[in-house]
Symmetry: C2
Subunit: 95 residues, 2 copies
């Protein structure tokens, strides 16, 4: 059926389709954060955060940097914030 590129695009949107992952992206856009910092901010199990980050990494949205005991995450490309603004604007318009 439908061109396989649609599947790939859908997978990308799916990576963004969770409140916690959007929150994580907003946070690390400001400054790199390690898993335990994000865990404390969100208030769920650390394994849950780790899996969200793993998913974002697989989708090429974030990159990790292991330093010492910690793993720090940052945005792979800040251009995703442009996309965020675009969506936020369009959500502002309708109810």
């Amino acid at each position: 059926m439908i061109n396989p590129k649609y599947k790939k695009r859908a997978k990308f949107y799916k990576a963004l389709a969770h409140p916690t992952r959007l929150f994580i992206i907003d946070q690390i856009a400001q400054q790199e954060k390690c898993v335990c910092e994000l865990t404390e901010m969100v208030g769920v199990d650390i394994s849950t955060i780790s899996k969200h980050l793993s998913l974002l990494k697989n989708e090429g949205i974030v990159v990790e940097d292991k330093r010492g005991k910690n793993v720090y995450y940052t945005l792979k490309c800040p251009c995703i914030l442009t996309l965020f603004d675009c969506v936020k604007d369009s959500l502002k318009e309708d109810g």
Copy 2:
């Protein structure tokens, strides 16, 4: 936990997170289509397409226009195509 706006944003991305729905949006961006036309293009049950359209409508992405026996769908705001291009570009860059 996390600001409820994240939930709303996530819901919007979720609406885009399906190959069939992306295909539908691309198609109706070119020209309005009725449910049965989209059904034939995609090749699944008409009820499945109807539900995808209903979801897109609830998210404010498409609008419907009932004319005669048919229901025609169009994009509520073509600005979503800008967002699409942005995502397509970023997917082109990494493998």
